[in-house]
Symmetry: C2
Subunit: 366 residues, 2 copies
């Protein structure tokens, strides 16, 4: 067990935005929520997974919706509280701790804000080790944990509890309600026991995001190359450097979908890169080769500062470095690939692990 202070929250927000791979919302918005909650309600306890009793009730929390909307609708912690309270009273048992469902600027912060408000700990685990756009895209789902009963709340005071036959129906009905409720809502979802969490979660994720955020911050102070520093802490690969020349983004069916194009600079001059995203970056390719596909992580960093740029933060002319990070082994299983591989998202591409692509493309330079 350790206590997360304000500095830790700042670092986690920054590192989480990087693992958010373009989605997960604006780290600034999330950071404000969490810091305000800590200042108002006191510090946050972070537990190691093995500190959680096997029979304890753990409930992940997150915001659902298009990041493009998250930016406009800053959530009040009240909403998540009410989602948690209705779920507690429905399950008739006390919630022991919460966790993030994914890494992302907003979704790594909401559990911290809630934990401070409710005076419960956060466990150093999540269900993605990155961000993904749909509710069934979690390692809990790979381990046959039901997303329901789940509660969904909007800022107006409407709430909705779902019990579905499978997690795909959860996604379908919750997405539909989210759009109707204005594009973003708060969730209390995947209620599970401590034992299930230990078996199915991606552990150490909050500590990793903190380490990434700290590295970016310290690189600046120590005048180190921020990109090299990030590649070091993430075991990532530099895939491309370029200027943003085009961004096409639409919010459809509750998702921010689009494509951005980068024109190569430095060693990549003369090449062009295309990034496809659905909230998160899914594919990065040049004219002649695919450099990386989901579920491996694609992060776009500011070339100067190494700070991650979200898909909605991409601006024409920005100088960016695109890096790739190998995903957690859970995602490289057959069910993992079926759930979040390129074909699920409609791309006629096989998943090839990033490390193999880097070798065969000879495109990666660590």
């Amino acid at each position: 067990m350790r206590i997360l202070d304000i500095q830790a929250i700042e670092d986690i927000a920054l590192g989480a935005a990087l693992l958010g791979t373009g989605g997960g919302g604006d780290p600034y918005v999330g950071k404000l929520m969490a810091i305000q909650a800590v200042e108002e309600f006191g510090p946050i306890k972070l537990l190691e997974p093995d500190e959680v009793p096997d029979d304890a009730l753990i409930v992940p929390t997150a915001m659902m919706g298009a990041p493009t909307v998250l930016v406009e609708k800053v959530p009040s912690g009240e909403e998540v509280m009410s989602a948690f309270n209705s779920l507690e009273s429905y399950l008739g048992s006390k919630i022991y701790a919460t966790i993030p469902i994914e890494a992302g600027g907003v979704n790594s912060m909401i559990p911290l804000a809630l934990a401070a408000r409710m005076g419960i700990p956060v466990v150093d685990t999540d269900g993605m080790g990155r961000a993904f756009p749909e509710l069934q895209m979690v390692t809990f789902h790979l381990n046959d944990i039901s997303a329901t009963p789940m509660v969904l709340c909007d800022e107006k005071g409407n709430s909705l509890m779902l019990n579905t036959v499978d997690n795909v129906w959860t996604e379908r009905l919750a997405r539909n309600a989210t759009v109707e409720m204005g594009g973003s809502v708060m969730l209390a979802i995947y209620p599970m026991q401590g034992l299930q969490l230990k078996k199915s979660g991606i552990h150490g994720i909050i500590t990793l995001t903190e380490k990434i955020g700290r590295a970016i911050r310290e690189a600046k102070v120590n005048r180190m190359d921020p990109i090299k520093t990030v590649l070091g802490v993430t075991n990532g690969f530099e895939l491309f450097r370029g200027k943003v020349v085009d961004v096409a983004r639409r919010t459809v069916g509750g998702f921010a979908r689009g494509e951005s194009k980068l024109e190569g600079i430095d060693a990549y001059r003369g090449q062009a890169l295309t990034l496809n995203f659905q909230n998160e970056h899914l594919i990065a390719r040049t004219e002649n080769e695919v450099l990386i596909t989901t579920p491996d992580l694609i992060a776009v960093l500011d070339a100067e500062t190494g700070r991650p740029i979200t898909t909605e933060g991409l601006r024409y002319g920005a100088r960016a470095v695109v890096i790739g990070i190998p995903c957690h082994p859970h995602w490289r299983t057959a069910k993992g690939i079926a759930t979040v591989g390129p074909r699920y998202f409609g791309y006629d591409l096989d998943y090839i692990p990033l490390e193999e692509r880097v070798l065969s493309n000879k495109g990666g330079q660590e």
Copy 2:
């Protein structure tokens, strides 16, 4: 208290279809559900409203969706049961009795089927005294009773509990989910106390529908004019007689919307009638005059048998008699007109009580 036998159910289904004013679903489907439940689980107790304790928990039940879909998806009583059970466990108290929310071929029968299955009584009350297409269109709403907590279930096993800030949000979110769930679902809604029911319900409605159904049945046996008989028991007015020459129907946003045209016969030869409906008939007019508008009741009867024809049952060439029935006084209040008057449905018409229109139009002939 009295017991409803199979004959009573047959008569109620038929009479309810008439008060369903073109909506409320196919009485045949509803009848089968209720009769099967009675044969399997035993007879149904019908209570007078004043037999209900003031603090008893009463929960109306109904099917929500486009009648065009109801015809294709015959509901299993199981769905309603599960809706009731989740609401009971959420409210943490036993449901004393159920009631219909509206009069209609299916929605008058579902509470009977459920009552038989659950061994609870039905109260001789509903929230419309006819059928209307939206959830807030009930006298309970006029009396500021909240539609939520409510539960919505589909036949696949998905269920959804709503808690909303107002009854218009309930309609909006439930309608949306209904469409996503396949066009029709089962509801447990407007949980209320006995005292609220007594104050806000439309009482004696089940007995009235039974009387109407019986009258139509006996008119046939006794070779009486079925239309005159119906007008007698409903205090209705004959508005038009004609042949169906056109029916335009679309299922949009979970509703069956459309328009049908009748060409006058007998005393109405040379005239044409247009009926507008959204699940239920809303307006009836000839080229030169409006004969009746919502909330007064518009029923289309088979000219031969006096049996009601639902909007989806209207067939080209059918010989029909259109009758008007004054709505319950609850609907003639300012809030009533605002909730279900012609302007709510987008018609630029004032509500004028049927009786006045009949006098001024000199069109009604009793």
